[in-house]
């Protein structure tokens, strides 16, 4: 059984694309579409990697990242942030909050896969 990746994203088509790419590469993919309950979900079943959107219903990706890092049980989980808001300000904000890697949408499938492999191995 492959390593577990949790995709926190609310656009169904994007969820489907990421799931397809990662499953094909042997990863076990879980998805979660709601921002408000995301931290609890990560805590109960800690994945090997979190792929996180920014604009989520209920709670923004930035807030989820901050809370995740503040919690000892989840602080060390690598986080790949994918966002459609590609401004520099957002990137800086994500880095300050302790993101592991930051990518803008639209992304190349190969790059995402490459990043996932690197982050989990590292």
């Amino acid at each position: 059984m492959g390593k577990r990746v949790l995709v926190i994203e609310d656009e169904p088509n994007i969820i489907e694309a990421i799931s397809f790419i990662l499953s094909r590469d042997g990863w076990t993919v879980h998805t979660h579409a709601d921002g408000a309950s995301a931290n609890a979900k990560i805590r109960t079943t800690p994945p090997d990697l979190v792929i996180l959107d920014v604009m989520l219903p209920g709670k923004s990706g930035f807030d989820i990242l901050r809370d995740l890092r503040a919690d000892d049980e989840t602080a060390s989980i690598p986080v790949l942030m994918l966002t459609a808001r590609g401004q520099t300000r957002d990137r800086e904000m994500a880095q300050r909050l302790g993101v592991t890697q930051f990518m803008t949408k639209p992304f190349s499938n190969a790059e995402v896969l490459e990043s996932v492999r690197t982050l989990v191995a590292g």
């Binding site: 656009e11 088509n13 694309a17 790419i21 459609a84 401004q87 639209p106």
Partner: protein, 888 residues
């Protein structure tokens, strides 16, 4: 029998005619064409409800029994109108500025909007009116009996009782139809006033016709008439000075305090200046009504057999001489007198009962928030209808109990004496700031008890209520408490005895209790506003701070005033404050205005309690009290001006602050807008890129191929629509759009919009096709686009189990409007301000599907078309109002 049937037909036809007149008057008042309805002449004629069947039939009987004493009944009001019209002017001014709905409301409002005083005065007035209503039943019944007798049917006791019951039922239905026809629980009734004015003319004409007939047709001319009068027993009656003074005072006081007189004098008054005309015209009317009383009485005594009821001379004289037409006219005169009194009196009493008894009980039993959840208007109207029936039923019961035999005049005086018990509190209240609530309660209660004991209860006859033993020896053998000889003062006229003791003890208690007790803050405030009504009509505010939400207040106001009136009130206030939409800032001034509007429907005490449920701010501040305690009007004036000035500065500062905030918000908005566009464009792009890469790698199953290319297609469409919307919005915002003006009906546009939106979730759409024939001259396609947006928004966001969208076309103050109201949970207040902004989608994207530009586009379209779109708060679900452009 034929003539009796004709009589019934004539009476019914006459009632229908009155109804038509009232209806027509109401319609033209609604359309704003009713200027002539508010003329001083109509006002003067409406005062004639003072002349009831008692005056029409009873004055002749009174003259036949007691000579000229009947004139006192006319003398009292004449003195009030000519000599005391300044009291009336003050009452009218107070009534206007405080939106007084009844005499109970006046007293309650003056003494600190006291609920208990409202209840006491209401009960007193219901009791006092009961004999009077019985009197009207009796006179109509008797006049029917006269015609029945002329057709050869001699009615006995049981027949009379049955007829009286039918008359009571008929009058109740008539009044309910008349007075509570529509749901508008407001205080003015143009239609009724008009009908009363017509009845006033009919009864005067009828009485004058009988008088002319008697003088010229029977006596043979004025000089012969004078000879007959000299020879008649009428000129030999002893006139008692005590009775003259007492009865003149009584009728003058009753003129001011009878609920029905207060209704026409004060509540229905449209213009203070009308009093000027009425002050001479109404005495003239009374004079004309009294002119022929003595001739008719003299000729009746002369011609008709001994034992004929003099109360019916007006009717029996023409009948016995074979003038059936004149008798019919006379019957209509009496019928007019009775019906106009009953209608106005029961409406006035029903208003008092619903405002001061039913609504307060309902309000306190339902607890806070009741005004928002319950339907107050239905309750008020229902209570009024029941009250009308109940009051007439009481009149019927009194008629049966009192045996229906007592002379008309005697019954009328009992009522007058009861109503007059309010006089000390009323006059004291408007001229003396020291008068207190407890003083008023004490005075009225004492007066009420004395009146009941000395006049009302004994009027049922010996042993009916008060045992004979008590009548002659007093209760428990206490001789000084004998009903007709209080404190052992004997040898006095029964009525004068009752008037003197009740009014004197009432006044004494009112005065001394007032002096010995302290008024509460609200009493002081109201007292100052009543007593000094001419000095400062603005008055101090009863609310100083406010924590109420405008939306809550709007919901409450809609329940009581009706949607249209309440929305107008809020819209005007919001515009005055320079705000968009229907929700003004809840300032103490606005709360005051609102409370006064509500008072016009449900009375001061209830309105105050209702508003108090929402506005938790301190009622009446120290400054207000200082202002009240300060006698000098100039100082008050000066401080008012200062206050106005500082209020203005505050307003300017607020506008500056708001403008500044707006500017800052604008530049933040620009950034946010770009970032939003980026997000909205990149999201579909992400799916398209990811799946096209997947497809490019090959090796898919046919199912996967279909699915993934489908996703690419959907996302491409979404992207295109977004670009279209953005382009549309930017064209509209820059004003580069060319409008294609055509004519089309609202129905066609809605039909198109409904079918265009039909692809969405199932939803019931309620429309009023009949109204939708309205033709608009506008850009039909653009307006349809707005409708499509509103309908598909309802489909997307309405969260009811069975979504229903009501589309309602009607006229409001802004013109023709189309309301789209759904039954979901609506839009939260903090979001109502932003929904028309770009990208202001409230829920998550997946459900919505759009980019949040729809309402922004709608707003721009409406601005271009010269219409308006706004969110209508307080409708239960989400509600949008479109003010339609180019309506014909």
């Amino acid at each position: 029998m034929a003539s009796f049937n004709v009589l019934i037909a004539v009476a019914l036809f006459y009632a229908v005619l009155l109804f038509v007149i009232a209806f027509a008057a109401e319609r033209s008042a609604e359309k704003g064409r009713g200027g002539w309805l508010r003329s001083p002449l109509i006002y003067t004629l409406s005062l004639s409800i003072y002349c009831t069947a008692w005056t029409f039939y009873g004055a002749v009987g009174y003259a036949a029994r007691s000579g000229l004493e009947f004139l006192t009944i006319y003398l009292g009001p004449t003195i009030v109108m000519i000599g005391w019209w300044w009291i009336l002017r003050k009452l009218v001014r107070i009534g206007r500025s405080q939106r007084i709905t009844s005499i109970a409301d006046l007293v309650s409002s003056r003494f600190g909007k006291s609920t208990s005083l409202g209840v006491i005065v209401t009960l007193l007035m219901v009791l006092a009116a009961t004999p009077y209503l019985a009197l009207q039943l009796q006179s109509v019944t008797q006049s029917f009996a006269v015609f029945a007798a002329a057709s050869g049917h001699q009615w006995e006791g049981q027949d009379l009782a049955r007829v009286a019951l039918w008359v009571a039922v008929g009058l109740a239905i008539f009044t309910i139809l008349f007075g509570t026809r529509n749901l508008d629980a407001n205080e003015r009734h143009h239609g009724i006033v008009m009908a009363i004015a017509v009845e006033a003319v009919v009864k005067l004409f009828a009485l004058v016709a009988v008088g002319v007939f008697v003088i010229w047709g029977v006596a043979g001319g004025p000089s012969q008439m004078i000879d007959m009068i000299d020879a008649s027993p009428l000129s030999q009656w002893d006139q008692s000075t005590a009775r003259w003074v007492g009865l003149t005072f009584l009728s003058g006081a009753a003129f001011l305090t009878l609920p029905r007189m207060f209704q026409v004098l004060v509540v229905e008054n449209a213009d203070e200046d009308h009093l000027r005309t009425a002050s001479w015209a109404f005495p003239l009317y009374l004079l004309a009504m009294s002119l022929f009383v003595v001739p008719i009485a003299v000729v009746g005594l002369d011609l008709l057999s001994i034992g004929a009821n003099p109360d019916l001379f007006v009717l029996t004289l023409p009948l016995s001489l074979g003038h059936n037409g004149l008798a019919m006219l006379s019957f209509l005169g009496g019928f007019s007198s009775a019906t106009s009194m009953v209608i106005v009196a029961t409406i006035a009493l029903a208003t008092m009962i619903s405002n001061h008894i039913v609504t307060p009980i309902w309000l306190s039993s339902r607890g806070p928030g009741a005004v928002v959840s319950g339907d107050v208007r239905q309750l008020v109207i229902g209570a009024r209808r029941l009250a009308i029936g109940g009051v007439l039923f009481l009149g019927y019961v009194y008629y049966r109990l009192s045996g229906g035999g007592a002379a008309l005049a005697a019954i009328g005086l009992i009522s007058f004496t009861g109503a007059v018990q309010v006089l000390p509190a009323m006059i004291g209240g408007i001229f003396w700031r020291g008068a207190t609530r407890l003083g008023a309660i004490a005075g009225i209660l004492v007066g009420l008890v004395v009146w009941l004991w000395t006049l009302f209860l004994p009027s049922f006859g010996p042993d009916a209520v008060i045992p004979v033993e008590v009548m002659y020896n007093g209760p428990f053998g206490l001789g000084f408490l004998r009903p007709e000889a209080l404190f052992n003062i004997t040898g006095m006229d029964r009525q004068i005895h009752a008037i003197m003791w009740s009014v004197t003890l009432n006044s004494i208690f009112f005065f001394f209790v007032s002096v010995l007790t302290f008024p509460r803050p609200l009493e002081r405030l109201q007292g100052a506003q009543f007593v000094n009504v001419f000095e400062h009509s603005e008055g101090a505010r009863a609310w100083t701070t406010s924590t109420a939400e405008a939306e809550d207040l709007l919901i409450m106001a809609q329940r009581i005033l009706g949607s249209a009136e309440a929305q107008d009130l809020f819209l005007i206030e919001a515009q005055r404050q320079g705000k968009q939409g229907y929700l003004p800032e809840v300032t103490p001034d606005f709360v005051q205005v609102l409370e006064r509007e509500l008072a016009g429907s449900v009375g001061a005490a209830t309105a105050h309690a209702m508003v108090g449920q929402f506005v938790q701010g301190a009622s009446v501040s120290v400054e207000d009290l200082i202002a009240v305690a300060d006698e000098a009007a100039q100082i008050l004036e000066y401080s008012n001006r200062l206050e106005a000035k500082s209020a203005e500065q505050e307003r300017t500062a607020r506008q500056l602050r708001e403008a500044n905030e707006k500017l800052t918000a604008l530049s933040i908005q620009k950034d946010a807008f770009l970032s939003q566009i980026s997000h909205e464009l990149r999201t579909p792009m992400t799916s398209i890129r990811a799946f096209s890469e997947i497809l490019g790698e090959g090796g898919m199953t046919p199912d996967q191929l279909t699915r993934y290319s489908g996703i690419i297609h959907t996302e491409a469409v979404r992207l295109t629509r977004l670009l279209d919307d953005l382009l549309d919005l930017s064209v509209l915002e820059n004003g580069q759009v060319t409008l294609n003006i055509q004519r089309g009906t609202v129905r066609d546009m809605l039909d198109r919009a409904v079918s265009a939106a039909a692809a969405g979730k199932a939803m019931t759409i309620l429309r009023k096709l009949g109204d939708e024939a309205l033709v608009l001259e506008t850009d039909v396609d653009r307006l349809t686009q707005v409708f499509i947006n509103l309908i598909s928004n309802a489909q997307k966001y309405c969260d009811a189990d069975r979504p229903v969208l009501r589309i309602d076309l009607h006229r409001a103050s802004a013109g023709w409007v189309l309301d789209f109201t759904d039954n979901g949970s609506g839009i939260p207040k903090q979001s109502q301000q932003v929904i028309f902004e770009k990208f202001s989608r409230l829920t998550d994207h997946r459900k919505a599907g759009g980019a949040g530009l729809g309402l922004a586009i709608c707003r721009e379209i409406m601005v271009r078309l010269g219409g308006e779109i706004s969110y209508l708060p307080g409708q239960g679900g989400a509600a949008f109002r479109v003010v339609l452009p180019g309506a014909h």
